[in-house]
Symmetry: C2
Subunit: 455 residues, 2 copies
């Protein structure tokens, strides 16, 4: 038993500080634009939406930002998470590659999302905020924020995309179990929601609409309610670096250094959290670890989108940023990886891809579930459909190692388990899972409606 499966750090080694990539960024990510002025947003504009400490972290140029004690205390519920050597998968693939996965499925809600939900709720609590609001697609993020708000005694309201609210009631149950209030979006709680429901009472909603509803609630609350978001913003990516910082120590325990790192991207947070600490070493120490982001062909913001200014929401209420985008009017197809159905990519990930520091590939739904099935039969754990995108590319790279006869060390982020996404596996097991393709015409249409920014 010298070849370990799981590399586990003691509680004391939960990172003391997050890694902030800002000072190491090789390119500028560009400003955030206030949609009312079409000029760079002021701190005060953003402070209407978010807790101030959260925003201070977002613009900080300090490389290390201390994790507050109450946040680390709550991280201890499931952190440090294991880094696992996928011995059985390697054997099944007959590959000389060594495959490792960071297991973020160990959190109470089954994904990496609490890593940022907890500090966001804590900063709101510090400011005396009594209520937070957010949106959620399939429900991973909403579950995490519901749990975090519960821990700090803050009310939590969640706008859940209606199609998921109807089809996947169990994530709603998780949120409600932590005491959150969940409504289907579009809802009658906002002007924007009411407008959409008047046009179509059966409107199924999407993430961009749910973001707009959340923002409307916050902006009308005059500071009483703060907004919380699960991905995209630099500070959110930074909170996730606990994942990669732990993984660095765990690879050291294993006596290996990764040649290839893989993560799936929707907004970009689990990918960034896992890879940025290693990327920092690439950027500052001349290491050449390949870093691969994986997106769905059905919503390929990075590989098919434009790198330009766009709104983060459908209702054009939210900030504008320079990102890879498919257009904020783009309605992604109903793939099972709900967490990857976002029209744009985080600023940092966008800039790094554009600058050539990271790679990106798009994969289809069927091949993704094939890979997930191979993984779960070898390793036991059932990946979330989102995480299955990382599994797919990790397996592809391991097969390439076999074909080329080279041993590489491959790491990927198992960002969440799939125990609340089993309808997708049912369809796959019974041969009824539709494959996906690139919705070129819809993207071309959506890209016609980009904001004009002149700075």
């Amino acid at each position: 038993m010298t070849d370990h499966y799981r590399f586990i750090l003691p509680e004391e080694q939960i990172p003391q500080a997050w890694y902030n990539i800002n000072p190491d960024m090789p390119v500028d990510i560009g400003p955030v634009i206030d949609p009312k002025t079409m000029q760079p947003a002021t701190f005060d504009y953003l402070a209407e939406l978010f807790p101030r400490r959260f925003l201070e972290e977002n613009v900080s140029n300090e490389r290390w930002i201390e994790i507050p004690r109450p946040v680390r205390d709550l991280y201890r519920i499931w952190r440090p998470s294991p880094l696992v050597r996928a011995h059985r998968l390697e054997k099944a693939l007959d590959t000389p590659a060594h495959i490792y996965y960071k297991f973020e499925g160990a959190s109470p809600v089954g994904s990496h999302k609490p890593n940022t939900a907890i500090p966001q709720a804590f900063y709101a609590k510090e400011e005396g905020v009594k209520s937070m609001v957010t949106e959620t697609g399939a429900g991973q993020w909403g579950s995490a924020l519901s749990m975090a708000c519960n821990f700090f005694g803050i009310d939590c309201d969640v706008f859940m995309v209606r199609v998921s609210y109807n089809q996947k009631p169990f994530r709603r149950v998780v949120m409600e179990s932590y005491g959150a209030h969940v409504v289907p979006s579009p809802s009658d709680k906002t002007e924007y929601g009411r407008k959409l429901l008047r046009e179509n009472p059966e409107h199924l909603g999407n993430l961009g609409i749910a973001i707009s509803e959340s923002l409307e609630v916050v902006m009308k609350s005059k500071g009483a309610v703060k907004y919380s978001l699960g991905s995209g913003l630099g500070v959110v990516l930074m909170h996730q670096t606990v994942v990669g910082l732990e993984a660095q120590k765990q690879f050291e325990m294993a006596g290996e250094y990764p040649d290839i790192l893989v993560g799936c991207i929707g907004g970009g947070s689990n990918f960034s959290g896992f890879t940025f600490p290693f990327l920092g070493d690439n950027l500052t120490k001349g290491i050449k670890t390949r870093i691969i982001a994986v997106e769905p062909v059905a919503c390929p913001s990075v590989t098919k989108g434009l790198y330009t200014f766009d709104y983060v929401d459908s209702g054009e209420m939210g900030p504008i940023a320079k990102v890879y985008t498919l257009g904020h009017d783009f309605m992604p197809p109903a793939i099972h990886a709900g967490g990857l159905r976002l029209h744009f990519m985080a600023q940092h990930v966008s800039a790094l891809y554009n600058h050539g520091d990271i790679e990106c590939v798009a994969v289809g739904q069927e091949s993704t579930f094939q890979a997930a099935s191979q993984f779960l039969k070898a390793e036991g754990f059932i990946p979330a459909p989102e995480s299955a995108h990382a599994v797919k590319v990790a397996i592809d790279e391991a097969i390439r190692c076999r074909e080329e006869g080279v041993k590489k060390v491959i790491g990927f982020n198992f960002s969440g388990h799939g125990l609340l996404d089993l309808a997708a596996y049912d369809a796959y097991n019974h041969g009824t899972l539709p494959d996906t393709s690139y919705p070129a015409a819809e993207v071309a249409e959506a890209l016609k409606n980009l904001p004009k920014i002149e700075l």
Copy 2:
């Protein structure tokens, strides 16, 4: 951060051997009876049903039985599991008690069940068996055996109680994802099933019927198919002692020794696995740890049943044993803790309770979910409805500590998470969860039909 949350053992400390309580039992558990002869079963009769090595372990009087290397290798996927100090729950209860829980929800299928599924599949593989069959209620056990059979390349057929098959499709999806074949019971695959379906084509089934169907398949297979069961038999309880053996080392890490240990009982395996190593110390070293089994008031085999010989299955095909029983015709009410809906209790647990070595309490459904809700809001993790029974009594004991002003160390087995049982939480959250009571008339009726054994 000196007061740890999670006590985690290194992989090397997965126990090398299971603890077999047989040599330390203060009383005889009585023979297993062959229903064809109504006399003590021969080894050969039982070997028609089970792998021989499994049966050898069942009757062994060795205190320590080595865990085979391939089994330990697979345990490494999630073992050692954490022992967690429930600091936040203690604070919420304002109790001087120290509360610990052993977290068996960390396995890929979310419960302790793989601890025995893996050795059972391995022993079948060793004998060249190509196919195993079992029954499952809500699906925890079926999921575990499906995963284990997949690891060893053995076919797995599962009879799933029809009411669960219809209402809880996701556990079926888990089983099918590992490659198992799942049919609703009663089914048209067996004579007994066909008979019941002729009488009532809509028959909802129960665990006792599903056991009978499994046994019929095995008995007709002439050795080609072996039976596997998830609880009850002594060897199954023994496989679960990895839980308690790890917990002993973890309490040592924490510098504490438990005053009270709590586990829920359906067949008795998670309770026994967690407590028997400590009970062994009670029996042999004069330690006085209180050991409390918790059952539902709706199916209270120990606190309301008779201690007598009864069949383990409804169809009167399976072995007969001396157990606490509500009668093998008893149809337990449809409580959410499906894993606790069994008419009898394991022989060892029955004998120990009868002899006064352990305690038992029965709790109602509503108070159980109240306790589970309090737990998950404090600790994050959502307990399975079965495990919630242990949570309830651990909380009750912690409150008693507060009232009496005494600090006790309380440990309970968090035998599984509830992420596949969220319909129950939905009902609880919305005030529509029915409370339960003792079905006295039905039990009285069922107890009229016990087998007559004259030895």
